[in-house]
Structure formats: structure tokens, C-alpha cells
Amino acid sequence: MTTSTATDRRERSTRRPLPLKTLALVALCTVLVLLAALSVTTGSRQVGWADIVAALGGSTDGFDRAAVAARVPRTLLAVLAGAALGVAGAVMQGVTRNPLADPGILGVNTGAALAVVVGMASFGLASATSFAWVAIAGGAVTAVFVYAVGTLGGGGSTPLKLALAGAATSAALTSFISAVVLSRNDIADNARSWQIGGLGGGTQESLQQILPFLVVGFALCWLCARGLNMLALGDDLAEGLGERVALTRGTASLGAVVLCGATTAVTGPIAFVGLVVPHVCRLLVGADHRWLLPFSALGGGVLLTAADVVGRVVARPVQIDVGIVTALIGAPFFIHIVRRQKVRAL
């Protein structure tokens, strides 16, 4: 290393990033596994090791073992939902070329929530699969609408226009949710507990129902990873390099909306995961989406699982919903991003 010949230097510059990234990937996986183990073993009820082992073996005798058995799907849901939201955020930021894009900020989650509440009230929907379908439809409509409105006028989609369009649309949709919920007392309580968001709805059944959606969503996003790198160069240049811009944008957005919609269908709206995770991952691995997407998936899983564990432990025996924890972490981060940008870039 001390004798830095030309070949040596070249070798280092081509080889060095790969091991570092792989190492980081392995480290993130380890952290995720550790957190998942922590999430199963700790909670608002303290359970001994013998019971935990027994519960993992399939026994649900007694409160302790039943509690642990309920933690397993919850943990899986935290990992999957976090991964979905992280990837969705990374893809949205790539598609809109906008650092503030996030399913929560853009109102996609609220659109999905409205669709689910209307589905509950008017069509008597009750299963996670049906929720997922209407949530995806509602989220897709909202995403297209907010993006269209935020892109109007000169200068394309500036962060300000996009964020304002998202916040305003979110506020409008929230009034509609109130109007629907208030006129139907029979679904009010159900809708409210769902709307606030949380991982408590994670059961074996609901997980199985949204798993196909998540697989499709991840696949769509992964297929677009290379295309998203092209989009980062700007539409004209990407087209010049042979990229079908509209197709890539459409496929990637569809993937992101499927991920958000399926997640929202079970957990209710969870904000800021999709914003924070891709930004942190970009610091680690750079802007290449082929690395960014898997890292965002892992990072999202880590963030949501950690937030869930913290929420269960910090104010025992009261549980703090995971949405609150992510908002408390995410909002300062959002502000940090806004403050870092130059005024002109906003």
C-alpha cells in the first residue's frame, strides 16, 4: 500500500467500493436480524427465555407464550413494511428527482387511507387483500394527481410545489375521511384504530394476504433500478441514451404505489420512513439505484423494527405507535434536508 504505483491505484479505485458496500450490506443484515430477535424477545410484557423458546416451537399455552407468538408476525410485518416503505421512498425520489418525495408527504398514504375507509363504509370490505386492492387504487390516483399538480407551470416539479401540493391534497382528503367516518358510527371505531397506524394488525393471515403484492412491488422497482439511474441525468439525456423515459417512470411509480398501498392496507399510514431511509442510504452507497434499493429495503426494515421496539419498551406498559416514533425521528430529518438545500434549489 505504501508503494503507490499507477496500477496499484487503479486497482484500488475499481475494487475498493465493492467490498465496502458488501461489508455494509452484511452489517445491515446482521443488525436487522439482531433487531428482529430483540423485537421477538422484548415487549411490554417481560417473558423468560424458556417461554420464548417454547413459543417459537409453536406452543401458545399461557399469556407469556401467546404474547411471544403474537410478536413473530408483528416483527415480520415491521421488517416487510419498513422495506416496502424504504424502497417506495427511494423510487419516488428517483422518479420525481426530488429530495422531499415521500409517500407520506406526497399524500399517497392519505389517498390509500381514504380509499380503504370508503371501502369499509360503502362496500363492507374487511379482509387485508381487499384493503390492499382499494388502497393501491386510491394511492395510485392520488400519486398521479399530486405529481401532475406539482409539475404544472414553469420549472417542473420543484420540491416546494410538490410538497405543497401533497400537503394540501392530504388535508383535503383528510376532510373527506372525517365526513365518511362521522356519518357512519358503525365503522367509526374500526376506521379510527386502523387510520392511526401501527403494526398491531400484523397477523399470520394479513401477512400472507399482502405478501404477493409486496413481491410484485419489489420486483417492479428492482426492474427499474437501472432506468432510475438514467432518469437522474434528466429526461433529455436519458432519452438520448436509449432509455424509454415514460415507461420507466410509469413502471417504477406503479411499483412504489403497490408497495405503499399494500403496506398502508395493513398498518395504516406510516410517515417519514420513505423519506429518511433513502437519504441515509445514499450517504452510505451513493446514488446508484442498483445498490440504493436493496440498502433502502434493509434500512427501512431496520428503522421500522427499531421504532417498534422502542415504542413498546420506552413507556411500558403503554405502547407508543410506530407511526409516532418514525414521525418524531423523521420530521427533524426532513427539516435538516430542507435547511441543507440552497434556497435557489428549493
Partner: protein, 362 residues
Amino acid sequence: MNPRTRDRPATTGHSPAPEPASTLETVVRGRVRRARRRRTIIAVLAVLVAAGFAASLMFGQTFYPPGDVARVVFGQEVPGASFTVGRLRLPRAVLAVAAGLSFGLAGVTFQTMLRNPLASPDIIGISSGASAAAVFAIVVLGLSGTAVSTVAVVAALAVALLVHALSARRGAAGTRLILIGIGIGAMMDSVTAHVLDRAAEWDLQEAMRRLTGSLNGATWNETVPVLVVLVLVGPLLLAMSRDLEMFRLGEDTAPALGVRVARTRLLALTGAVGLIAFATAAAGPVAFVAFLSGPIAARLVGPNGSLFLPAALVGALLVLVGDFAGQFLLDSRYPVGVVTGVLGAPYLVYLIVRTNRSEGSL
């Protein structure tokens, strides 16, 4: 200086050239006409607010004739009407007008100051801060009445100052202020949601009241603080409206025209936040009233003079009509915030589209 010296001979009749005089006359006539139009619209709005106020006192489960209502308002005992009108309808109607005026005035202050019609207090987190704090005070701290208002006001001021301070790096930029406000608003909303979820015995009606705004069960305890703040702060903001209008010309132009930007901004911010906070503590964040009053007033009045008074009147009218419609015109009873929210949403969408397309202000 130059135009005036040229005009003087024309007006005093020494100059033989009639051209400048007629131009001047046209300008003056136009200005007078526009000022008259603005005064007319303000008068019409004021009459409508008064009519709405009177109607909301007279109509309800039972109708009371204007004579009875007037006697109750002036303090006489009228069997039946004294309770229904004096104890139930009067505080509610007064709160509707006072909160509406507060929302309208505060909203237009923000929109003018930040040069963006979308930058109203309900979008940039201030209303969210007030309602989060109010809900927290009621559910977790077990407070009620004036204490809740106090907590809400302090929280709204804290949020406003925090947003202002965080955005003030290297000169306060309106854009950054709006974005940071949106972030803080999202955080506050999730706190509200969480606190409401914890309160299991809390009935949904009350929960929604804190999320969308409602005048149900209004009493003098809630109404009086709103009125007091309105009387104190309202005239101040109206007096400052001329300076604030200068902000529309840009943050570089305003100081050149003699506006003390930092001082004006801080005063106006504090005043507007005070209005919003007290009104929100009493009635909840009545959706979109602060947001829509300014643009609607701008549509009515056009570019003639200050929007502050018309916007306040539009706000009062929106709350009165929304509350009346929510109580009596729809098949089930809705709080006012739901009515204004659902009615306001399409207009809001139209407004975003129009603003983004034209890049304009109000």
C-alpha cells in the same frame, strides 16, 4: 417629483394643454370607482355576516321571531328564548363570527407575508401545533377550559417561532419556512393521532372536533378569550396591512420602500399566530377557512387595496354558513370543519392548479 410639477398647472387651469388633465381625471375616476367597488363589497359582506348571525340566532329546533331574539340579546328575560337563544345559540353564533374573523385575518396575513396562497396556517403546521397541544392538555394532563386555551396558544406560538427560527438561516426564506412548517405539521398531526388513540373512553365526536373543528357545545368560557384577542390584535393587523402588502413586492423591495421587514414580520407573525391559536383552542382548526378566505376575498375585491378586512369577513361568513349547513341542511349533523373541508377541497385543488400554472400570488 416630476409628474407632480407637471400636473399642477393642469389642475389649476394655467396650462392650455388639456391632455394631462383628462389623463389625470381618468386615473382619479378609476381609482374612485375601484375604491367604491371595494367599499361596496365590504359593506355587502358585512351585511351578509350580520344576516347570517341573526339567522343562526333565530333558526334551530324552534323558531324565535326577531323581536324575541333582540330582547334576549339586550338582556331582557323572555321565557324559553332566554335559555335557547341566550345560553345556547348566542355563544355559538358569536364564536362562529369571532373564530371566522380570526381565521380569515390570520390566514391572509400569512399568505401576504409569505407571498404564497398555499402558505396558510393550516398547511404550515401552526393549527396542527395548537390542536395537538389542546388534545394533549385535555387527554393526558386532564385540563379544561381556559387552561386548555393557554396551552394551545403557547404551543402554537412555540411552533411558529420554531419554524421561523429554523428557516432563518442566512436570511429568512419564505420557501424554506413553508417546507419546514409542513414537516413540523406532519409531526404534530401524528402526535394528535396518537394521543387520541390513547384516550380510549374519549368519544369520537370530541376526537373529530379536535381534528376538524366544531362549534358544538360552545359556551362563553371558550368564546370570550377569542373575542378579546380579536379586539386586541385585529386592529393591529389591519393597521399593518399596508406594510404587509409591500411584502408582496419581494423581500428586497419591501425594505427599499421603507418597511422595517424584520420587525413587521415578527409582529405580524405573533399577532396572526395569537388569533389562530385562540380560535383553534375554542373551535378546533376549522378546515380551510384560514386557507380560503384570502383567495376568495381577492376574487371578490380584485387588485384594489388591502385584502385584510374583506378576507376577515369572508372567514366569518364561511364559518357561519358552514355551521348552519352542518346543523340543519344535511341529512345527518356534521361539525362545521367537515362541511368547510368538503366544500373547500375542490376550490383548494383549483387554487393549487391555478397558482402553479401562473406562479402568481393570491
